[in-house]
C-alpha cells in the first residue's frame, strides 16, 4: 500500500487527507471493473486473460461489466472502424468518472496494418487513452502489465474533485514507474 504524499496538490497536504486518498486509491485500483469493448482477435486474447492460467482476477479486475454505467475501465480490444466510431464515443461518454481507457493491440492504438478507407487510425482521435498496449495480438502478460500501469496511475490520483478531468495533472508529473 504505497503511500505517497502528493506534493503538487499544494492545498491538500494534510496528513489525514493523504491517508484517505491512499485508501481510496487502494480500494479503487484493486477492484477495477473492465468493460471489454472487444471487436476482433484481441477480444479472444482478452478471453484468454480472463481464463486460467493468465487469470485477471488476481488483480481484482475479474468482474467484467458490459454496461458502461457500471464499468470504470474501458478496454478497447480490436479494430475500430468508422462505422463503430460513434458507438465507441457514446459508450465512453456514458461511463461515469473516474474512468480509464486502455487501447489494446496495434489496431486500436494506431490502426494496425489496416491503413485504408475503413479503419480509424488510432482511437486517440475519438477518446483519450491512458495506456496503449502494442502487439498483434498482445500477449496476455502484456495486458496484465497494462493493468498494473493503470493501477500505478490510480495510485497517484489526488482526492476526488468533482467533474474535473485530471489527466493533464497526472501527465505533468514525471514518470516514476
Amino acid at each position: 500500500m504505497g503511500m505517497k504524499t502528493d506534493t503538487y496538490t499544494k492545498n491538500e497536504t494534510g496528513l489525514i487527507t493523504t491517508r484517505v486518498d491512499a485508501m481510496i486509491n487502494w480500494a479503487r485500483k484493486n477492484s477495477l471493473w473492465p468493460l471489454p469493448f472487444g471487436t476482433a482477435c484481441c477480444a479472444i486474447e482478452f478471453m484468454s486473460v480472463v481464463s486460467s492460467p493468465f487469470d485477471i482476477s488476481r488483480f481484482g479486475a475479474e468482474l467484467v461489466r458490459f454496461s458502461p454505467r457500471q464499468a470504470d475501465l474501458l478496454l478497447v480490444a480490436g479494430t475500430i472502424n468508422y462505422k463503430l466510431a460513434p458507438v465507441l464515443k457514446r459508450i465512453y461518454d456514458q461511463m461515469p468518472e473516474p474512468k480509464y481507457v486502455i487501447s489494446m493491440g496495434a489496431c486500436a492504438s494506431s490502426g494496425g496494418f489496416y491503413d485504408n478507407y475503413a479503419t480509424v487510425q488510432g482511437i486517440e482521435q475519438i477518446v483519450p487513452v491512458d495506456v496503449f498496449i502494442p502487439g498483434c495480438p498482445p500477449r496476455p502478460e502484456a495486458i496484465l502489465d497494462a493493468l498494473l500501469k493503470i493501477q500505478k496511475r490510480i495510485d497517484r490520483e489526488p482526492s476526488p474533485k468533482r467533474g474535473v478531468d485530471r489527466r493533464h495533472e497526472l501527465a505533468e508529473k514525471p514518470a516514476d514507474e
Partner: protein, 435 residues
C-alpha cells in the same frame, strides 16, 4: 486417448423428435397466439399493445463480435427484425490489392481469427493451384494436422460461448483450459498465439520441431475428458434442452437456398462436407465420419460440433504417426525463398532472395476459385491475377456471411431470449463476416 469411435447415437436425436412450442415453419411473421392463452382465455390479441423497438448490439459481451440486431417486439415475441453488420469492416479486399501474395497471409489470419491457420492454408492452396504446383507430401499431412487442430479449437470457442450465452459458464472454462494446451503447442511451432501466419505460398515457413509429435499427443490427452465433462453437464440438462431443442429450426432445402455450408448445414441433415465430397490433401485416405443432425435446431448445431471434435481427434491420431519425411517446400526458385546460407554466401541466392522479396510470387494471369472446409463452412477464395506480384482482386467467400443473412428469418416469430441461442449456434465471427 485411444482411437475409439464416438457413439453418435448419444448425440443425435431421432428425426421429428424435437418440436418446440413454436416451430418457424415457413418463416411467416403471422403469429399464432392461441397457445399462449391465459387462464381466462384471453391472449395477446385481446390486449391493445404497441410494438417496442429494441437494439441488440453492437457492443456485445466479447464473444461474438460486433453486429446489431434491431427488433420490433410485441411483448416478448419478435415480429420483425433487421440485422446490421459492418462494424468490423477492415477493407481486406481493397488493401490486399496493394500487397504481395505472401504479404496477404497475415491479413488472412485475421479473417476467422479463431482458426487462423485454416485461412492461411485455404489462401495458399488457391494460390498454389493458380501457380500449377503441388506441395510435397510432408507439407500436405502437416497442413491436415494443423487444420484439424484448429477445427477442434474453433469448435471449442463456439460451443463454449454458445453454452455461456444459454447460461452455463462452467463449460467455457473446461474448453478454454483444453484449448490453452493446444495453443501452447501451436505457439511453440509458429511463434504466435492467435495469428499464426505459418504457411507460405509453396509450403510452410519452417519445419516442425523434433518433439512436435509428443507435444501434440500430450495436449490432446485432455480433450476427450473436456468433451465428456461438457456433454455430461448439458446432455440431459432440462434448461439446456428447453432452450435449444426446437429453437431456430430450418430445413435443408431452405438452408441450401440461403447458401449454408458447414456444420450448420450438416445439422439440418444434409451430408455435405468438402473433405468427403471433393477431397484434398489426402483426406480420402483418412478414415473419419461426418456427423449429421436430425432437426436443424440449436441443439443439433451444438452436438454436431462436439461430434466433429471427436472426428478431428481421430484424424489427428491417424496422421501424426505417419508424417512422411522430405522437404516441406516446393523445389522452385521462383516461388520459395532460398536457404539462408545460400543467400549469404552465393550471388545467385542473394539475387533470388531479392527478387522474391521485392517483386513477389508471380502467378500467370487468370482467375481461380478454390475452397476448403473451414470449421464454419466452405471458405473460398476467388483470386484474379494480372501477372504481377500483387493480386488484382481477391474475393473471400465467408461462410458466416450467408449464415448471418438467414438470422432475420430465423428469429422472426421467436422470443427475445432465443436470439442469443440462435446467434451463438451459428458461430458468427465478425472478422470473417465483414472482412
Amino acid at each position: 486417448m485411444t482411437d475409439k469411435k464416438p457413439n453418435l447415437d448419444d448425440f443425435v436425436p431421432k428425426a421429428g423428435e424435437a418440436k418446440g412450442p413454436y416451430s418457424a415453419g415457413d418463416f411467416s411473421a403471422d403469429l399464432d397466439y392461441s397457445g399462449d392463452a391465459a387462464a381466462d382465455g384471453t391472449t395477446l390479441d385481446d390486449i391493445d399493445t404497441q410494438p417496442m423497438y429494441i437494439n441488440i448490439g453492437p457492443t456485445h459481451p466479447a464473444t461474438h463480435g460486433t453486429f446489431r440486431v434491431y427488433c420490433k417486439l410485441d411483448g416478448e415475441r419478435i415480429k420483425k427484425a433487421a440485422v446490421d453488420i459492418g462494424y468490423l469492416h477492415r477493407g481486406f479486399e481493397k488493401i490486399v490489392e496493394h500487397r504481395k501474395y505472401n504479404q496477404v497471409i497475415p491479413y488472412t489470419d485475421r479473417l476467422n481469427y479463431c482458426s487462423g491457420l485454416v485461412n492461411n492454408i485455404g489462401f495458399c492452396k488457391a494460390v498454389e493451384r493458380m501457380l500449377g504446383i503441388e506441395v510435397p507430401e510432408r507439407t500436405q499431412v502437416i497442413r491436415v494436422i494443423l487444420m484439424e487442430i484448429q477445427r477442434i479449437m474453433d469448435h471449442m470457442i463456439c460451443v463454449g460461448a454458445n453454452i455461456v450465452d444459454i447460461g452455463a459458464l462452467t463449460n467455457f472454462w473446461y474448453f478454454f483450459n483444453a484449448r490453452e494446451k493446444l495453443n501452447d503447442v501451436l505457439e511453440a511451432l509458429t511463434g504466435a498465439r492467435l495469428t499464426y501466419s505459418y504457411t507460405r505460398v509453396g509450403g510452410l515457413a519452417w519445419d516442425l520441431p523434433e518433439d512436435f509429435r509428443e507435444r501434440v499427443k500430450a495436449a490432446l490427452e485432455g480433450i476427450p475428458k473436456a468433451i465428456r465433462d461438457v456433454t455430461g453437464l448439458i446432455k440431459k440438462n432440462r434448461i439446456f434442452l428447453d432452450r435449444s431443442r426446437g429453437v431456430g429450426v430450418i430445413d435443408a432445402e431452405k438452408a441450401l437456398s440461403f447458401g449454408w455450408t458447414g456444420p450448420c448445414l450438416r445439422a439440418t441433415g444434409y451430408p455435405m462436407d468438402l473433405r468427403k465430397v471433393r477431397p484434398y490433401y489426402h483426406y480420402d485416405q483418412f478414415s473419419f465420419d461426418v456427423p449429421i443432425g436430425a432437426n436443424g435446431d440449436v441443439y443439433d448445431r451444438v452436438f454436431v460440433r462436439i461430434a466433429e471434435m471427436e472426428e478431428s481427434l481421430r484424424i489427428i491420431y491417424q496422421a501424426i504417426d505417419n508424417v512422411p519425411g522430405g522437404p516441406i517446400n516446393v523445389d522452385n526458385k521462383d516461388i520459395v525463398l532460398p536457404a539462408k546460407d545460400e543467400v549469404h554466401n552465393t550471388m545467385e541466392g542473394l539475387i533470388n532472395h531479392f527478387k522474391l522479396v521485392i517483386e513477389g510470387v508471380k502467378p500467370p494471369p487468370g482467375r481461380i476459385y478454390d475452397s476448403i472446409e473451414a470449421p464454419n463452412g466452405e471458405l473460398g477464395f476467388y483470386i484474379i491475377s494480372d501477372g504481377t506480384g500483387q493480386p488484382y482482386r481477391i474475393k473471400v467467400r465467408p461462410p458466416c456471411f450467408y449464415l448471418m443473412n438467414t438470422l432475420k428469418y430465423l428469429i422472426e416469430g421467436a422470443m427475445v431470449a432465443d436470439i442469443v441461442a440462435i446467434l451463438a449456434g451459428l458461430n458468427i465471427i465478425a472478422g470473417e463476416l465483414d472482412r
